[in-house]
């Protein structure tokens, strides 16, 4: 079932060369939206929702965002409290700094560091992990607490403001799984690879911000 109101939503998926772009596009389409893939900042002007996907390394991501002159526009978009969804590297890129492969300054929208997962377990943290919801938010509508989502990462977000963490997964430490602050949400796992409940995350986020229009 797809929601007709989502078809009219202006959803921008930022393309900065991330490998999983197609999966994210297909997931957003599957829930009934018609996303547009864009790599220019101007595309965000009229957007109802902006999605930042991503896999790979923080340094490459920041390099590509810089080359495309997207860093300031993304920061301004989020500062204006407009709907923004980050996925995996799209979450980590929002942090102050990433320790992956050296010290790499990131977008500094969310305060905290991206640090290596603790030793003692297989790295990358790869597979379906149980996600414990600390707060019920509209993002989890129809998703039972403790449902599993698909993770692939070696670094995680050590949040300076833990109240923004709305869900965690246990992997030797409480791994930040979902962050929400205002109209910003971001997941460490890949909703586009997490079956029906994963798609439900996209649907919930888009529905929550449909009809809101853009504050301009």
């Amino acid at each position: 079932m797809s929601d007709p109101e989502l078809a009219d939503l202006d959803v921008i998926i930022l393309d900065y060369g991330a490998g999983n772009l197609r999966s994210v596009v297909r997931a957003v389409e599957r829930v009934g939206a018609k996303p547009e893939v864009a790599s220019v900042a101007a595309a965000m002007d009229e957007a109802d929702v902006v999605i930042l996907p991503g896999v790979g390394a923080a340094a490459d991501t920041m390099h590509n965002l810089r080359e495309l002159r997207l860093i300031e526009p993304i920061r301004e978009y989020i500062a204006a409290d407009r709907p923004f969804l980050g996925v995996c590297m799209g979450l980590q890129a929002l942090m102050t700094v990433s320790e992956e492969g050296g010290e790499h300054p990131c977008l500094d929208v969310l305060e905290g560091r991206v640090v290596r997962l603790p030793e003692g377990r297989k790295i990358p943290h790869m597979g379906w992990n149980r996600v414990d919801q600390r707060r019920r938010t509209p993002l989890f509508d129809g998703i039972p607490d403790g449902s599993h989502f698909y993770f692939v990462h070696s670094y995680f977000c050590d949040m300076a403001q833990p109240e923004d963490v709305v869900a965690v997964a246990d992997y030797g430490t409480d791994v930040t799984a979902v962050v929400e602050r205002g109209k910003l949400a971001a997941t460490q796992f890949h909703p586009e690879k997490s079956g029906a409940y994963g798609l439900r995350i996209y649907r919930n986020f888009l529905l929550e911000h449909s009809g809101n229009g853009v504050s301009r």
Binding site: G19, P124, G127, G195
Partner: protein, 261 residues
Amino acid sequence: MLTKRIIACFDVDAGRVVKGISFVELRDAGDPVELAALYDHEGIDELVFLDITASHEDRNTVVDMVRHTADRVFIPFTVGGGLRSDDDMRLMLESGADKITINTAAVERPELISEGAHRFGSQCIVVAIDARTEADGSMQVYTHGGRRPTGMDAVAWAQEVVERGAGEIMLTSMNTDGHQDGYDLSLTRAVSDAVSVPVIASGGAGNAQHMIDAITDGNADAVLAASIFHFGTHPIMDVKRQMQAAGIPIRMEHADYDDVL
């Protein structure tokens, strides 16, 4: 808690699934995309497609299959068979595969692993290792579908591929493959304990107990099977229930897309 993954593998020849698929409910039981969607619906955690023809002319067929799978299946899937360059890898990843797997090509030119890992990230580079426990107890790596011995030790090679950037190892025992008599537990344990990345046990699954053993005794992070799922004798959720009853963390939800959306 991170669950142990149950992975189904399809051998694909010229765009058709081969090797014992007997699903009566499917209109086209040889269509990899139909099968992938069915397995997703039935609760599989991950899928692997191995293109066993892997001829050059076949490449477009595989790309089509990957695209159509990505359109319908929202769980991770890996594609392998005949990938020899980072451009081959890129084609599969851009078409929608989450990971690629290389085997013989990695042995022949180990730099391929690092090139792929550097360009696309370690998380999508799965190195497949075919190994045989020899009469003297040594564990030797084979290539070319298990036909050609390399003289390399399986554990040493596993450590090397991880050093070069592999994010995961798919380990198949040539001794047990095809016999449905259980995985090679000592091989699996030796490799899994020697590397920092997840190891998928493959070759020999005949029932749920074999998978339980591969995880508890073999220290595998994931188990791969083909025939026992394809013949329909072991429904995926039955296997998962038995594994869960044995104390293994398993993802039990397999929600229907239409119900949830």
